[in-house]
Subunit: 449 residues, 2 copies
């Protein structure tokens, strides 16, 4: 096929995988990368672990692409300014010089990602950078660690993966930490309240206070944060980390006439937008949920990776499809692994399913083999068809079980069919009757009633 002129805006996970896929499909294509940061890729999921000290240096998270040898033009410190879809050209700002330049494309891939979102709470945006921080770049870890260094009181807003990982990290570096979550339990979008109790227990055992079902109502301070008001209570605060979700800035995309749905840029299954030859991947796109067949959001690195691969393949003239996201995720809170895939009970009900669940507690190894650890699994199925709707797991090996369910969801298996799958057994690794199978059997028993 003819070599194309491919422009990728954004060098996150989606942009990176798009680049690799495009190069694979069409090695002679000319690829230009536009990235407003002053560095190549970095692994944002590692940021909390830098604060915690597990990763000694945030520079370790940065990865320089050998773009020269790849025949890729890399424009760092360049930011997308506008897209002229008719002439197939974008305008970018050179942030170093303040000048603009135009770049012509045959295929354009938008992988601009997202930014942390700070809710419109009185004082929060005003004190941004002065005690109020977000965590989205390697530099943010320096800022937060600096701010934490001689201070005592930290508040983390949001009990999703980033919020909880940051809370544990700040505790580890010696702060008193309070986690505030508007919804009623940890990982509220991914797991159920009963499963979240294990997370509460870990936070408690680490000495982290959690305030669930409560909102930060006000951030107090003049030059610098002093306190936050939460549920009528005033908490001392030297530091507030806002981890209450991310948003994509899509104004340029919208101005270019590219369609935007409820959750982000809409694409077809080839990750192409409504505008020919413009593709999108990563946090800024809306995906299809394979369970509800409805629009959905998946701001996860694994989704961005797959979407980028599909976008890059198609942008380069190949053929690939993306079949939606089950938002399969894992996070680690202290020593507790928490993982989920598909719907939790809340979303399953919201999308009209009658849910039957099965829940089991077990060990990673038989009682008689040393070193076994606790693990709990909950599976959700549709009450009339038995089709799996999702699963949640907490404890060592949670992700391993959840990945198994992710494949079952992809395959449209019933919970009965999943229960039939013989899982690998050796006492040094697993139980004969795995907790996942047990959870499935419990759900099957309810279905049979």
């Amino acid at each position: 096929m003819a070599a194309k002129n491919i422009v990728i805006v954004g060098l996150g996970v989606g942009g990176f995988s798009a680049l690799m896929a495009a190069k694979k499909i069409s090695p002679t294509s000319h690829i230009t990368i536009v990235e407003r940061r002053n560095c190549d890729m970095f692994s944002s999921c590692g940021l909390p672990f830098v604060i915690e000290g597990i990763i000694p240096d945030p520079e370790n998270l940065k990865h320089t692409l050998p773009t020269g040898s790849m025949g890729v033009e890399k424009l760092l410190l360049h930011e997308l300014r506008s897209i002229d879809t008719g002439n197939k050209v974008i305008e970018v700002d050179d942030l170093a010089t303040g000048t603009q330049k135009e770049i012509v494309y045959d295929s354009l891939i938008l992988a601009t990602g997202s930014e942390p979102f700070i809710p419109p709470i009185p004082g929060a945006r005003e004190l941004l950078g002065r005690g109020v921080y977000t965590l989205s770049s390697p530099e943010d870890t320096y800022t937060i660690l600096e701010a934490a260094s001689d201070k005592k009181h930290a508040v983390v807003m949001g009990a999703g993966p980033i919020g909880l990982e940051v809370a544990v990290a700040l505790k580890a570096v010696g702060m008193d930490v309070v986690v505030v979550e508007m919804l009623e339990w940890a990982f509220p979008r991914a797991i159920d309240k009963d499963m979240a109790s294990a997370v509460s227990n870990v936070l408690k055992s680490l000495g982290i206070r959690s305030m669930m079902g409560k909102a930060v109502e006000k951030v107090v301070g003049e030059d610098h944060i002093k306190a936050v008001e939460v549920g009528g209570e005033t908490l001392d605060a030297d530091l507030l980390v806002a981890a209450s979700g991310v948003r994509a800035d899509l104004s340029i995309v919208r101005d270019a006439g590219i369609e935007i749905g409820r959750f982000g840029i809409t694409t077809n299954m080839g990750m192409m937008t409504n505008v020919k030859d413009i593709f999108a991947a990563g946090d800024s796109v809306e995906v299809t949920n394979p369970l509800s067949h409805r629009p959905w959001s998946s701001q996860l690195a694994n989704s961005a990776f797959r979407q980028g691969t599909v976008a890059g393949t198609n942008a380069a003239g190949g053929y690939a499809t993306y079949d939606g996201s089950l938002t399969t995720f894992v996070s680690v809170v202290g020593d507790l692994e928490v993982a989920a895939t598909g719907f939790n009970s809340h979303f399953a009900s919201m999308y009209g399913f009658n849910v039957v669940s099965g829940k089991a507690k077990g060990k990673t190894r038989p009682d008689w083999y040393p070193g076994g650890e606790d693990i709990s699994v909950k599976v959700l199925a549709d009450s009339s068809t038995g089709k799996l709707l999702g699963a949640q797991a907490v404890g060592r090996g949670a992700a391993a079980r959840i990945n198994v369910v992710a494949v079952a969801l992809k395959s449209g298996l019933t919970v009965h069919e999943l229960a039939e799958v013989e899982l690998a057994y050796c006492p040094a690794v697993s139980e004969t009757y795995d907790v996942l199978t047990k959870a499935c059997d419990f759900a099957v028993r309810k279905l049979n009633k």
Copy 2:
């Protein structure tokens, strides 16, 4: 439903799960267990780890069932003597008294398991118990440890899970160990030669000699083993552990007119034999391979567990089906986890498939996150349809990947579809681009050529 008189012969994994399932379906049924051992259940997969010292006492492997409170009659030291299928009665020997008794059944479940098989090698059977041993009961661990205590040279025959786990165990207690395997590599029925090289490396690093593609030709000794002859070489031997497979003794079953196939007792999908109301489960049954749709052998605890559940459910008047075994397994050799599911290349070819494979090496965590370990995965797919045929993995998390593939095989997924599944990512647990997905992508690339 009317309470039944259920008799279960054999209290291994299959017999135990049959018992539990039958009790669940029909709590009022009268269940009799016939077991020739003098103990309740024990976990045979733990035996090598007793020798190694990881499990301090073989008694830990024994589990006493609360049969009294369950309303179950348990006849230990009783052995099946004959089955009268017409009158629905079995005769058993009371091994303690030497007397016989008859037991009437409505449903009979045969779960008699298997015994280690000692090949007809000159000297091997003659010296059984005098330096030549098998490992199938808690008592065998005493015998082997006793025999090992003041001796130096051990030979292990067979490089399957038991053989290799025993080899590592004997090395750990201070012996010089040679593993002899007739086929050309370790785990020859489950993995390919290229994947087995990791096993060879571990054995080497532990100081265990492996002689692959060689047979024990003779066991030398008069009162006690002195040496073995292997491939023209004479090896000093104070101890030989035969781990060259297991066989079921089916003479009583055959005499009763119960059909036996190439691999064991044949059953329908309800685990019922050709004789009405007689069920079978565990090592002594022949299963269907879901990939070849042909008879197959699965002498694994996870298969026995599922088969027993199905047999027990149906024997008690319920309804359950067994859909065959992918012989999904995991073993641990030293620190190396080895797992596989479905066919390896050898069996895939033998059953007429043209195989395309994808193989990837990776880490369990990103490079920049401490503590990552090596893992390699190989997936096999049918070259014309892309349908998955099997997978093999070595390294930490091998079983976790293999379980994912087991579900994909159960679902009839193509390798392409498996590659699309987004696996859970968090740097403390996994890579964004998991080695399993990578292996699938490599196979897809070959298929697309």
